[in-house]
């Protein structure tokens, strides 16, 4: 086995086993800190030993055993230093094994705990990326442009709250499950979106590491909860969005809008997988949630050979469905953009005007307005709207694209 093979095996084990190791240790020792540290030590030991000793036949079992030993060592050390009651407290487990059926997986407990609604959304994101995805604190800090010490504090504080307030380590009851799953999906969608349209002047416009991580975690949840429609919907949405990633930023670092993208550059395998999931949800015949509808809209776009072949009436019909579910002005804005293709820019502009008081601070609102005004030949108004959009946009590639469009106005 070459050095590269061993490195591959360690990377693979980290992807496949990290969450499982942390989850099983948390269950056994009742402490996220102990679990996290022992898991990290076990992987460090693997990096040290596998190149010389070879990759063990069952890497997951080796890592779990090693991590267990590290955790017990740590607890013994701490007990010697005082805190005699510590061990009893750590091993205390008042949650008898429940029949969980198809979703009986330690990793689900971990995910639901990290995404608990009593934690701030940023804390949920950070904790999920550390505990479930296995990203290091410096990696997470970099991803969200936060100083490392601040990210460290955010995670430490979240773990301390879980312990002090006794946030339970379990899969929620059937009655609470839908609300809690949507909380988990919100965290994953946030990670994906931050990767897809990264903010900040000095960051890459698309952060593939974050989109890939979000997809990997959503695949995991999908494997654990294969019957949940919204999980499938979110995965499909991410795949169909990720499929367009390379076509989305030009060689000059400009954001390329959907109508101008080179559709030949789209990833056909991801699109096929996304379409398969959307069809599967359609066949289920259950009223779709917002992720499923968003995925269906994405499926319509990715089914068209070029922008003129897009079935806009289908897109608008799906947005109508979405507006009923989610009255957010951003959804209404996207619906209006689709209406422009179906009924013309004049009609869409009237719809946009009604959203102004709620979206005046949102760059995409002004960008959409600028585009409609341009198509109506109202260059001066269009220019003013582009100015506002450029002012408010936080993504480098998007600013570049808006600036070009503005400067092309006659």
């Amino acid at each position: 086995m070459t050095v590269a093979d061993v490195t591959d095996a360690i990377t693979r084990a980290h992807h496949e086993e990290w969450a499982r190791v942390v989850a099983s240790l948390t269950r056994r020792f009742g402490d996220l800190d102990v679990a996290e540290e022992a898991a990290a030590e076990a992987f460090a030991t693997a990096v040290e030993r596998w190149p010389a000793d070879g990759v063990p036949p069952n890497p997951g079992a080796w890592l779990t055993t090693t991590a267990n030993r590290k955790a017990i060592d740590r607890i013994r050390r701490e007990n010697k230093r005082g805190g005699k009651h510590k061990e009893a407290q750590l091993l205390h487990d008042d949650d008898p094994p429940e029949p969980l059926g198809a979703i009986d997986d330690e990793r689900l407990r971990l995910i639901f705990t990290c995404c608990h609604p009593a934690l701030a959304i940023q804390a949920r994101v950070a904790l999920t990326l550390r505990m479930v995805a296995g990203l290091t604190v410096p990696e997470i800090a970099r991803a969200f442009l936060v100083p490392q010490t601040a990210m460290e504090q955010r995670i430490t504080r979240a773990k301390a709250k879980i312990k002090a307030a006794r946030i339970p380590y379990r899969v929620p009851s059937a009655e609470d499950l839908p609300a809690r799953i949507s909380g988990v999906l919100a965290v994953l969608f946030l990670v994906f979106n931050e990767g897809y349209l990264a903010t900040g002047p000095d960051t890459d416009p698309v952060r593939h590491d974050l989109t890939a991580e979000a997809i990997r975690l959503t695949r995991l949840i999908r494997a654990l909860m294969p019957d949940d429609g919204e999980v499938a919907g979110l995965l499909a949405l991410m795949l169909l969005t990720e499929a367009r990633r390379t076509a989305r930023v030009s060689a000059r670092g400009e954001l390329v809008t959907l109508d101008e993208q080179d559709r030949g550059a789209w990833d056909t395998a991801l699109i096929a997988e996304g379409h398969r999931l959307v069809r599967e949800r359609l066949a289920a015949g259950v009223a779709p949630g917002r992720y499923q509808i968003l995925a269906a809209i994405s499926a319509v776009h990715t089914s068209a050979r070029d922008v003129r072949a897009t079935d806009w009436s289908q897109v608008v019909a799906l947005y109508d469905q979405l507006v009923r579910l989610d009255p957010s002005p951003i959804i209404a804005l996207n619906r209006a953009i689709a209406v422009a293709e179906l009924d013309g820019p004049e009609v869409a502009l009237a719809l946009l005007d009604r959203l102004e008081h709620r979206l005046a601070g949102y760059h995409a609102y002004h960008a959409a307005r600028a585009d409609l005004l341009r198509r109506l030949g109202r260059s001066q108004h269009s220019r003013a709207a582009y100015d506002k959009a450029i002012d408010l946009a936080g993504n480098t590639a998007e600013t570049a694209s808006l600036t070009r469009r503005r400067d092309q106005l006659g």
């Binding site: 307030a165 339970p168 609470d176």
Partner: protein
């Protein structure tokens, strides 16, 4: 595990008869299901006195230690297995007394 459920009020005035009745129903439930430890409503913050006896002699100050628009109007102490149970009860408590509540675990 015990949790303090603080009732936070942002307007003057005691509980209305309807609120009182809803609180009674909620309290009965806490007792019946074994969550009850203690509860009470508090008089207006203007009736508070702050005492500092860390120095030579005790200092008495008229009024609450923090002047703010929102103030502690009462509290429950509940027994709950974990935060999920406590949050659910607190949500019902908030509905019953028609005010915001804050949940904090005891050490």
């Amino acid at each position: 595990m015990q949790y303090l459920v603080s009732v936070i009020s942002d307007h003057d005035g005691l509980a209305t008869p309807d609120e009182d009745a809803a609180i009674d129903v909620f309290n009965d439930r806490l007792v019946a299901e074994g969550h009850w430890v203690f509860a009470g409503g508090l008089a207006a913050p203007s009736s508070a006195t702050v005492i500092d006896n860390r120095g030579e002699e005790a200092m008495f100050t008229d009024g609450p230690f923090l002047e703010s628009k929102e103030y502690l109007a009462g509290f429950w102490i509940i027994q709950a297995a974990d935060l999920d149970v406590a949050l659910k009860l607190a949500a019902e408590g908030s509905k019953a007394c028609n005010r915001k509540v804050e949940v904090r675990p005891f050490l």
